[in-house]
């Protein structure tokens, strides 16, 4: 068995499947308006695997929740544009949006056990999606549920279809959630820390399964994670978020070979490695800013060893460093190319 295969992205860049433009998410709090995501733009190509890396509070999950329409207004406010098949998802009527969810874009979460309904059998939960949307018979829906459970490699699906979530392990619950997400054959699967709560050998099983499903269906995958290792092994392209903004975006090999942003470099150097290639850990000093207490200029400047005066005043914007490689830093150097 190989580690995860990158999906093929050769040739000309195809038209994006999802086009996110200047997405902003703010929340009303007792202490005033807090910016969770501050103007983020990115695209996702059909079949592409995109990684979004960030630490707690970086806004990596909130942005995707906003795209899925999972942010309650108020207290949340979402602005910008999210184009799917040329239409802005954010301004769609709720009925159409619900249609889009599941049918075209599906999402799975970290805590599969609590995302499932404890009082319904897993079969019912998988079949329900199918029965409601496809208007098929109970029997047909159940047949389909068993098929999906087979696809996500739940052993003896025929008997386990009648089990409840508490009768499954964490890894099996995640498989059930993946089956539910796949039921309608979405073009995009958003996976928010799908393996963070799982043991490492189970994580390996789930990531192998996702890669297989993606290869078979050609669906695009957005992997939200704090784990640089998972990103390195899974995605085609990675985006690094810090304090609600994109600080770097690059093809995955370029990001790890030549990280341009001091934060990305710091993250890579602060991670101990299983292959022992880490040496002394270079921790990044300080802590990420609390939401609502954003520093002026570059949000990373209080922790940055390379800051210059300009960093305290001007907020840097993403600029090209190399082919398809962008970083939001005043002092990052472009990679010289022949």
């Amino acid at each position: 068995m190989r580690a995860m295969q990158p999906s093929e992205t050769l040739g000309a860049t195809p038209a994006p499947l999802l086009d996110v433009r200047d997405l902003r998410v703010t929340f009303e709090t007792p202490h005033g308006l807090v910016k969770a995501v501050g103007g983020v733009s990115w695209t996702l190509a059909p079949g592409e695997t995109l990684g979004i890396i960030g630490e707690s509070g970086s806004g990596k999950s909130v942005g995707l929740e906003a795209i899925m329409g999972l942010i309650k207004t108020p207290p949340g406010h979402v602005s910008g544009e999210v184009l799917f098949e040329g239409r802005n998802v954010l301004t769609m009527p709720e009925r159409e949006r619900r249609q889009l969810r599941g049918e075209k874009i599906a999402m799975i979460f970290q805590d599969a056990m609590s995302a499932l309904n404890p009082s319904l059998t897993v079969g019912t939960q998988i079949a329900e999606v199918y029965r409601l949307r496809r208007k098929c018979s109970q029997a047909e829906a159940e047949r389909r549920a068993i098929e999906l459970m087979d696809r996500v490699k739940i052993p003896s699906a025929k008997t386990r279809v009648g089990n409840y979530p508490h009768e499954f392990s964490g890894g099996m619950c995640q498989r059930v959630m993946i089956a539910t997400a796949l039921a309608l054959g979405p073009q995009i699967l958003i996976a928010d820390e799908p393996t963070t709560a799982l043991d490492v050998t189970v994580q390996r099983q789930i990531m192998t399964l996702l890669a297989e499903l993606q290869r078979e269906d050609g669906m695009a995958l957005v992997l939200i994670t704090h784990d640089l290792g998972l990103v390195a092994e899974t995605v085609d392209r990675a985006m690094v978020m810090y304090a609600g903004r994109l600080v770097e975006s690059a093809p995955v090999s370029s990001l790890f070979d030549a990280p341009s942003h001091p934060y990305t470099r710091g993250l890579i150097r602060s991670m101990p490695r299983i292959d022992g290639a880490s040496g002394a850990l270079h921790a990044i000093g300080g802590t990420p800013p609390a939401a609502g207490r954003m520093p002026k200029g570059c949000a990373f400047h209080p922790r940055c060893e390379m800051r210059v005066d300009r960093c305290r005043v001007d907020r840097p914007v993403l600029r090209p460093m190399d082919r398809d490689h962008f970083a939001a830093c005043h002092i990052a150097k472009e990679t010289p190319r022949d």
Binding site: T208, A232, M271, L281, I284
Partner: protein, 337 residues
């Protein structure tokens, strides 16, 4: 499992420790009670300045082991020696006195600090129980010293836990453990809840404190990369048993037990150039510990299992400086990660 050459008398020694849980009550007709062996004859030694890493997945017994050696759970059998004295023989009050030497840092820096207390009170509380460690008039200065030692500011003494970030709270937890000047600290997933940039700070702090104070750590974690980084020796557990044990580099570079091989192989490597490497994907899941498989508990998931593995519990085989509990440990090809 191995007898490393004794360079220094052990501070802390665990011998064949065992923790069984009885399940249910005997039936009306005296039916046997099933037992769950959460910790099954585990032994290890901690020397001054040494870190022993304990790894394994959920349910392998690593946290049970921690609680048992701290005597938070009473073991079913075995010995726990502190400087040669079996702490399991101690009375409650004697044990209380001994606790100052063996401290613990927990995973969750949010729930392990009392939110109503200032940092000063949190750090001085242990001296109410052990007044002799720091004379009253020196306590103020010692609080400042402890805070400086863990990389916080002496002026933080008047703040409350909620005013600190997760990483800073973990530093407070470490300072509290240090207040009693222990020789041994059990770190139970002490850095697992922290973001990677902050985790590195705390790992570096633990190493630094060890160098300065000669602390011995029992470092329990599910993150194998962190364990490799911090440990001198490592113990791998599966279903309550030690399946492999040895010097960290030996175990990580030449894992002998098929479970260790799979476990190490499963960890993602943050280097896209290595994504095409061979990895072992284990089939199935950890079996129910109430009904452990016959013979070798790992055999149903093991690619190398033969008839003997289904029939006989494997012996511990010593291989150089390491040891593995596998019938084929000396014959398997080494799969390095």
């Amino acid at each position: 499992m191995t007898d490393a050459p004794v360079t220094d008398a052990p501070v802390f020694e665990v011998r064949d420790i065992r923790k069984d849980y009885a399940l249910g009550k005997p039936g009306l007709f005296g039916g046997a009670v099933r037992t769950l062996a959460a910790v099954n004859d585990v032994s290890f030694t901690l020397r001054r300045g040494e870190t022993v890493g304990l790894v394994g997945e959920s349910g392998c017994g690593k946290s049970s082991l921690a609680r048992t050696v701290l005597r938070l759970n009473e073991p079913t059998g075995g010995e726990v020696l502190y400087h040669g004295q079996n702490i399991l023989d101690l009375s409650r009050s004697e044990m209380q006195k001994l606790r100052r030497h063996i401290q613990v840092v927990f995973q969750d820096p949010y729930s392990s600090l009392d939110p109503r207390f200032t940092v000063r009170r949190i750090l001085s509380e242990p001296w109410q129980v052990f007044p002799d460690i720091v004379p009253a008039h020196q306590r103020e200065a010692r609080v400042a010293e402890l805070l400086t030692l863990v990389g916080l500011n002496p002026s933080d003494a008047d703040r409350y836990p909620h005013q600190f970030s997760g990483g800073q709270r973990q530093r407070i937890g470490i300072a509290r453990a240090l207040a009693l000047e222990p020789e041994v600290i059990v770190c139970d997933e002490a850095v697992s809840a922290l973001d990677v940039s902050v985790q590195a700070q705390v790992v570096n702090l633990l190493k630094d404190l060890q160098d300065r104070l000669g602390l011995a750590y029992l470092f329990i974690a599910h993150d194998l990369s962190v364990v490799r980084h911090i440990s001198d020796r490592v113990i791998v557990m599966y279903l309550g048993q030690v399946v492999e044990e040895g010097p960290t580099e030996e175990v990580f570079q030449n894992p002998r037990h098929p479970y260790t091989q799979a476990l190490l192989s499963a960890v993602p490597i943050p280097d896209p150039a290595r994504r095409d490497r061979e990895v072992i994907v284990l089939e199935g899941e950890v079996p129910n510990p109430i009904f452990p498989p016959s013979g070798c508990p790992f055999h149903p998931r093991c690619a190398h299992a033969g008839d003997i593995c289904r029939e006989a519990p494997p012996p511990v085989k010593t291989l150089g400086s390491a040891a593995a509990r596998c019938h084929f440990a000396d014959r398997l090809e080494v799969v390095a990660s």
